[in-house]
């Protein structure tokens, strides 16, 4: 006789892995809203007046006074708030909010997939930074119903990161620091793009996860960085943002370079897996590269450093032709 609740227990280990991949920070987003996002309408007012910004759900979020107690409900949101110069105002974070290191001292309100609302309410936040596709919508609705303003974020491209920092800085009244951080990131990425605009193309396979084997398509933020560095993502045209693939398709695509993150920052074992296929161009030329996932899988200012590393690796691959 069968047991109740089929399928779930067997799947849980695998999906936990996916969950962790998400926590690692790849902020995935289907194509739908891409065209509409546009630039945020910035309409900050002088002190004492209401400050309003448009969030990534295209809703206007207004605060009577600058935010002083901020709850950041994803590791990426935490980084963005700190980047906006409002780190001291963060009163609540979620699990895996490990950057900057000060954020680890802030009280956690549980995992980003299920927040402990009691703990959150007790901290009396006057601004909650929600993650559109990562936090449960029911819980965010409950938070709003309880009278706490929610600012939804979901940066999908380089400009989305800069603009999120600027908008957070308006809400927290830390514009000087925020605008500067946003400009550094925007200019840095623009400089990289310019430098590699005419570089020789390198075909790249970016490995997000090993079991199941997952990559990213061109819509994904990492895919955008690959293109920016003059790489051609061999799985860029696949319809899913984070496609699941198999070894065979990698062998068939025969990329010139394989770039992988990993569970840990120092863990390279995903790359050694490919050494069993010496016919792969990437293996033959030793173009197996590791980019620390925390630098490239979160849509935060650290992406600039991750992008620099990735671009340098692809430059190395060009040198080995």
């Amino acid at each position: 006789m069968t047991t109740s609740v089929p399928a779930v227990p067997r799947l849980s280990a695998f999906t936990l892995a996916i969950d962790l991949a998400c926590l690692g920070g790849a902020w995935r987003w289907p194509l739908v809203a891409l065209g509409l996002a546009g630039l945020p309408g910035l309409s900050a007012m002088a002190d004492g007046e209401e400050r309003c910004v448009v969030d990534d759900r295209d809703r206007e979020v207004c605060l009577e006074a600058p935010a002083t107690r901020i709850a950041a409900l994803s590791p990426g949101a935490t980084e963005l708030v700190y980047a906006a110069g409002a780190g001291e105002k963060v009163v609540a974070v979620v699990a895996y909010s490990d950057y900057p290191p000060e954020a680890q001292e802030v009280q956690s309100v549980g995992s980003h997939t299920r927040m402990d609302l009691e703990a959150l309410v007790t901290l009396l936040p006057d601004l909650v930074i929600g993650w559109m596709t990562g936090n449960p919508p029911e819980q965010l609705e409950t938070i709003e119903a309880l009278g706490m303003p929610v600012f939804y974020i979901e940066p999908r491209d380089v400009e989305g990161v800069s603009s999120a920092i600027e908008r957070l800085a308006i809400l927290a009244d830390t514009r000087e620091a925020g605008d500067q951080a946003a400009a550094v990131f925007r200019d840095g990425m623009a400089a990289l793009a310019e430098r590699y605009a005419d570089a020789e193309p390198v075909s790249v396979f970016y490995q997000v996860w090993d079991e199941p084997l997952m990559s990213i398509n061109d819509e994904h933020l990492i895919g955008q960085v690959v293109s920016l560095c003059g790489g051609i993502n061999v799985f860029g045209a696949l319809p899913r943002l984070v496609p699941r693939i198999d070894d065979e398709s990698v062998l068939a695509a025969d990329p010139e370079a394989i770039v992988a993150g990993g569970m840990g920052e120092e863990n390279r074992h995903w790359l050694t897996h490919w050494e069993q296929y010496p016919t792969l161009t990437a293996v033959a030329r030793d173009n197996l590269f590791f980019v620390p996932p925390s630098l490239i899988q979160r849509p935060t200012p650290r992406l600039l450093e991750g992008s620099r590393i990735l671009c340098e690796k692809l430059e190395v691959a060009r040198g080995r032709r």
Binding site: P6, C22, D116, L117, T122
Partner: protein, 322 residues
């Protein structure tokens, strides 16, 4: 009548105690005096939010869902005269899950998910009942077998949906499959249904007692068997669909609570059905309280706790009863 009222009185007291416990503990600390003030309509704004907006609705939802699942399980076991019957084995919750996951996969929220889950449960009901009916007569074993196979089919569909869904939707879908009360917003729809169905089926207790002995005996004793069986099946589907839409698929309550009560109280449906509503509710309220406080601020899926609490209790009772 005293035979009925004593156990029910004890269970009612246990339910109230469980609800009181659930409202008074949480990851935030609300002092006893403050709690009392809030319940009497006073208290600070923060405590009022914690207790009245977060804890009370969630506890009542847990109670209602537990009651719904236990009553649905008890009805199924009478209908099929098989101790293994429960809404999960018969594919009801599988259908509801597929409906809800399809809505989640389509990016829908709130009411659409509920409606879709309800549609899935009804579809599953019609499928199982219709197919088991077939061209000949249906027997409980035929119905059970159809249900089990349909449930397995839903299981495969669920696996397929999880495999093809975008990664960012997976955590939500998974927690939903494990059962989770943190998404429950208002307790009134499940609570109303629980009360309505209890009022509907408790007067039928005597007929259900006869039916439990077999359809031929029931017919000989003047019970119109076929309409009664349809009524039970539809009621059980409705209960399951509501429970699943409120809190995701929480296993185990529907199977174990009726059995536990039968081992302790005997097999009189007039007593078992209301007792199931109370005991199922109590179990889920306690389980949910543990789920949200045990490793707070991290939250556990409540389905894990119901199984961890229920399995040893059930095995102990079963062992003792021999």
């Amino acid at each position: 009548m005293r035979q009925l009222s004593l156990p029910l009185g004890i269970l009612l007291a246990a339910s109230l105690a469980a609800l009181a416990l659930s409202v008074s503990v949480g990851s935030a600390n609300v002092a006893a005096g403050e709690l009392w003030a809030v319940l009497r309509g006073g208290g600070e704004a923060l405590s009022r939010t914690l207790v009245l907006e977060l804890r009370v609705p969630r506890s009542l939802s847990a109670f209602a869902v537990g009651g719904l699942l236990a009553v649905a399980g008890a009805l199924m076991q009478v209908l099929l005269r098989n101790p293994l019957a429960d809404p999960y084995v018969l594919g009801l919750s599988g259908g509801a899950s597929v409906g809800a996951l399809a809505a989640m996969l389509g990016g829908m929220g709130g009411m659409v998910i509920s409606g879709s889950a309800f549609g899935g449960a009804l579809l599953s009901t019609l499928l199982v009942f219709g197919l088991a009916h077939g061209t000949g007569s249906w027997t409980p074993s035929r119905l059970l077998l159809t249900g089990v196979v349909v449930a397995a089919g839903w299981g495969a569909v669920i696996t397929l949906m999880l495999a093809i869904s975008p990664a960012e939707r997976l955590p939500g879908m998974l927690y939903w499959l494990m059962g989770d009360l943190s998404y429950a917003r208002t307790p009134w729809p499940p609570m109303t249904l629980l009360m309505a169905v209890c009022l509907l089926v408790i007067p039928l207790g005597r007929s259900l007692n006869v039916l439990a002995r077999g359809p031929l005996q029931a017919a000989a004793l003047g019970v119109s068997v076929r309409p009664l069986e349809w009524l039970i099946y539809i009621a059980a589907s409705l209960l399951t669909a509501m429970a699943v839409t409120t809190a995701g698929s929480i296993g185990f309550v529907g199977l174990v609570v009726p059995h536990m009560l039968r081992l302790m109280l005997g097999n009189d449906q007039r007593l078992i059905l209301p007792a199931c509503a109370l005991a199922g509710g109590t179990l889920l309220v306690l389980a949910d309280t543990l789920a949200r406080t045990m490793i707070a601020p991290e939250q556990l899926p409540v389905g894990v706790i119901t199984a961890l609490l229920g399995v040893p209790t059930f095995l102990y009772l079963l062992y003792r009863s021999r």
